[in-house]
């Protein structure tokens, strides 16, 4: 009933008319505002363009002046040479540092597909062979090629660590290789420098963790051949885990010689192979018992 009254009295129509008027005037207001802003911006653009053109002209002018006044000296080239020398110096320094990383045991370089790591080995200050592992960086990480000897457990180590912890993989490999290099060095030294002590060839496997040899110990004009068997069960060490020294003769050993035999076993367990023989040379026929400790 209220709606009917509103309709018939034309109030709604009037409201409609008022609404339309407001919209129109709003629109007009918006238009006016927009036009004002636009023209203001237009003026600003014009002013900035003018400024830009003036600055550009100024820059060109100054450049020309600089070129003209310093044409004979050519400072641009000098600057470039200095810069080149600085960069080259830095490059040489960096290349030297990259080389120096071999002293940490691990060095290498980036390749187009990944990285080639070089593992250096050493034993008691003696720098020995290097080995490399060429890795391709993909998922999964894989070994492209390498120079690791076949008797080093490379597959086992890579299966365990390569995908999850590259650092650990390489540290382990480094440990195995350094231990192998150390054992090999000791065996080589025995063969080359102490061949006089050996009564027969030094028998060794490629991993150099099983050695057997017969050596002569002399005392009181007698020569006793001792048979030594050295087993290095732990492939990460350069000292044997098991040493067996046996006497080759048919007679039973005297107490003194039994003591010698036992002390030799201990010596081989605690000192590198070639050092044991160095001590034999130094002490002559008698073995200094203090070496046993």
């Amino acid at each position: 009933c209220e709606i009917a009254f509103l309709l018939s009295s034309g109030v709604l129509a009037h409201l409609e008319r008022l609404e339309m008027q407001t919209k129109r005037s709003c629109k007009n207001l918006e238009d006016l505002q927009r036009e004002t802003v636009e023209s203001a911006l237009g003026t600003k653009i014009h002013q900035l363009r003018g400024l830009r053109d003036r600055l550009r002209a100024e820059v060109k002018h100054r450049q020309a002046r600089v070129k003209a006044s310093t044409a004979s000296v050519e400072p641009d080239q000098t600057l470039e040479v200095d810069e080149q020398e600085a960069v080259e110096g830095k490059q040489e320094n960096m290349k030297a540092i990259l080389q120096a990383y071999r002293f940490t045991g691990l060095s290498g370089k980036l390749t187009s597909r990944g990285v080639c790591v070089c593992i250096s080995t050493a034993f008691e200050g003696n720098l020995l062979d290097s080995y490399f592992v060429d890795l391709i960086i993909q998922k999964p990480l894989r070994i492209h090629h390498h120079s690791i000897p076949v008797f080093i457990p490379l597959e086992e180590l890579s299966a365990k660590y390569l995908q999850t912890d590259i650092q650990h993989f390489l540290f382990c490999l480094c440990e195995y290789l350094n231990a192998y290099a150390g054992r090999k060095y000791q065996a080589d030294q025995l063969q080359s420098d102490f061949a006089g002590f050996l009564a027969g060839p030094l028998r060794r496997n490629s991993l150099c963790n099983l050695l057997s040899f017969t050596y002569k110990v002399e005392a009181d004009g007698q020569s006793f051949p001792f048979c030594a068997r050295l087993l290095y069960k732990d492939l990460t060490t350069t000292l044997p885990t098991d040493v067996t020294i046996t006497y080759q003769g048919t007679d039973a050993l005297s107490t003194l010689w039994e003591e010698q035999r036992a002390s030799h076993e201990n010596l081989f367990l605690t000192k590198p192979l070639h050092q044991v023989f160095t001590s034999f040379t130094r002490k002559g026929e008698k073995l200094d018992m203090s070496l046993v400790s």
Partner: protein, 153 residues
């Protein structure tokens, strides 16, 4: 800490334009970053001088002797070190031998006695590998201990 993949990927651009001088420098920087991350050791400076000790008057002319003097400095996290060592290279008919004849490790004194222990042991044995590896593991252990204690605070 960047992973191996991240380091390699960021360098691929540098590799592609390796002819460019700045690209070469970037490539070297990436290699250094890779090695310092891998070994845990950051080598900042290195230089070497050589001295020819070959005695030409002696009858054995086939033996060549060279003495190298190396100087290396860097850091492993907060621990800085300076090394001076000598390597004697002897080349005879059969083989070339390289031996570290002297090793001096200079480090700032710390409260960790274990550090001084393995440093002097490394010096005695002239064992560079042992020095670097022990230093890295020691620092890692210190960091691990710190983190563990933080966890319990």
């Amino acid at each position: 800490r960047k992973s191996l993949q991240e380091i390699h990927q960021s360098d691929f651009g540098a590799w592609a334009s390796s002819k460019d001088r700045r690209g070469r420098l970037g490539h070297l920087e990436s290699e250094l970053l890779f090695l310092s991350t891998l070994t845990g050791i950051n080598i900042r400076n290195y230089s070497m001088k050589t001295e020819d000790l070959t005695n030409t008057e002696k009858t054995d002319k086939s033996i060549k002797k060279v003495l190298q003097r190396h100087r290396l400095s860097g850091n492993c996290h907060m621990i800085t070190f300076q090394l001076e060592f000598q390597i004697l290279e002897i080349q005879n008919k059969e083989r070339l031998s390289s031996v570290i004849t002297d090793l001096n490790i200079i480090m700032e004194p710390t409260e960790y006695s274990e550090l001084s222990e393995f440093v002097s042991r490394a010096e005695d044995r002239r064992d560079l590998l042992m020095f670097f590896r022990s230093l890295h593991f020691f620092v890692e252990w210190c960091e691990y201990r710190k983190r563990t204690f933080e966890h319990f605070k």
